[in-house]
């Protein structure tokens, strides 16, 4: 769409990111939403960009925190948080105890 693209957290990846974003935006609005494509295209641009990003995540020390978050809220199920469940369990225990006392 020719919009001003955001830059990458790693300046060395910004150019590759712009190329990928351009390709993705076109695919998303013209193909995916219109039901013309069931495949995520732009694989060439994606490979170049993600290789750059993966290296930068390690270099800048973001990777450990990211891995932790990925464990807590996995990508596969759309990142539904586990902490919520933890809170729920506490309430359940309290409720359980309450019922037992009663």
């Amino acid at each position: 769409m020719g919009n001003i693209m955001s830059s990458s957290f790693a300046p060395e990846c910004t150019e590759l990111k712009t190329k990928y974003d351009d390709c993705f935006n076109e695919w998303y609005s013209e193909k995916f939403l219109k039901g013309k494509s069931v495949e995520n295209e732009c694989s060439k641009e994606w490979y170049a960009y993600s290789t750059c990003i993966d290296a930068a995540l390690v270099k800048q020390g973001i990777k450990p925190a990211l891995d932790e978050a990925r464990k807590e809220a996995p990508f596969e199920n759309g990142a539904s948080c586990k902490v919520l469940k933890k809170v729920r369990t506490n309430i359940d225990i309290e409720l359980g105890a309450f019922i037992i006392i009663k």
């Binding site: 769409m1 020719g2 919009n3 001003i4 693209m5 955001s6 830059s7 990458s8 957290f9 790693a10 990846c13 990111k17 990928y20 974003d21 993705f24 935006n25 998303y28 609005s29 013209e30 995916f32 939403l33 219109k34 039901g35 069931v38 495949e39 995520n40 994606w46 960009y49 993600s50 990003i53 995540l57 973001i62 925190a65 990211l66 932790e68 978050a69 990925r70 807590e72 809220a73 990508f75 596969e76 759309g78 990142a79 539904s80 948080c81 902490v83 919520l84 809170v87």
Partner: protein
């Protein structure tokens, strides 16, 4: 734990909102967001209508000195991980995000949902936002509560900024879409024998026509309302005008 909730509307169709979401940053209002990266993006293996995207959002914003002191941080750059799920069949876009920085001290879970507005699903999008803010600190209960309060306030401010900022992106996006249609329209006039996707072009033209009709309609309605208002003001004062006018005439005659 504190909870923040917010609901509002965008005056654009869901398709446009979900497309603009990928270009939400940078915008002139949410200047605290300095970078957005895609870490992983896949079509769901079980449902080809579902696209999942993991993004890293880099934020630079002022954190109170006492919080910085407490956590021994020197830099005010922080990272947020966001996982978004687009379901093009149900027309929903759900974004779930959580801070990566300081997350052992303060955790902000945000869930945002964009869906067609139930009252006007074709033209409007409903925006629902919820954030859970938890400060961990065991015995430091009061400090935690203070940190939660500060975070809630900051979240509230940023939510407002987010809305205004996204509006500006949507507007720009909408105008670009329109000008693209104009270009295509022109192309169609000039090179009729050019080989391009006629169905999508005609679709765009129909949309453009609809937009134009909508504009005309809304302008006409507002003009009509305006006229009506003026008329009613005039009619209110009609007798007074006539009176004054007649008095004037009378005086002039004498």
């Amino acid at each position: 734990m504190k909870l923040f909730q917010n609901t509002s509307n965008f005056e654009y169709p869901w398709e446009q909102v979900s497309t603009a979401n990928w270009n939400k940053y940078p915008n002139e209002v949410s200047t605290h967001v300095i970078a957005v990266d895609v870490l992983r993006r896949e079509l769901s293996k079980t449902d080809p209508n579902v696209l999942i995207t993991e993004r890293l959002i880099t934020v630079k914003q002022g954190v109170p000195k006492w919080i910085m002191y407490l956590i021994g941080a020197g830099d005010n750059t922080s990272y947020v991980r966001e996982v978004s799920t687009v379901n093009k069949k149900d027309k929903t876009l759900v974004l779930k995000s959580c801070n990566l920085t300081m997350c052992n001290i303060l955790k902000v879970f945000e869930t945002v949902k964009y869906s067609p507005h139930p009252m006007d699903p074709i033209n409007k999008t409903l925006f629902e936002q919820e954030a859970q803010i938890t400060a961990y600190g065991g015995s430091l209960g009061r400090i935690c509560s203070k940190m939660e309060d500060w975070s809630i306030n900051r979240f509230c401010e940023n939510a407002k900024k987010g809305k205004i900022g996204f509006e500006s992106v949507l507007k720009e996006f909408h105008e670009k879409l329109k000008s693209k249609v104009d270009d295509l329209d022109l192309d169609l006039d000039l090179d009729l024998d050019l080989d391009f996707d006629l169905s999508s072009t005609s679709n765009l033209i129909v949309n453009k026509m609809n937009d134009a009709m909508e504009d005309v309609k809304s302008t006409a309605t507002s003009m009509f309302k305006e006229t009506e208002k003026k008329c009613s003001i005039l009619s209110d004062y009609y007798d007074l005008f006539i009176d004054t006018f007649e008095k004037d005439l009378h005086q002039q005659k004498n």
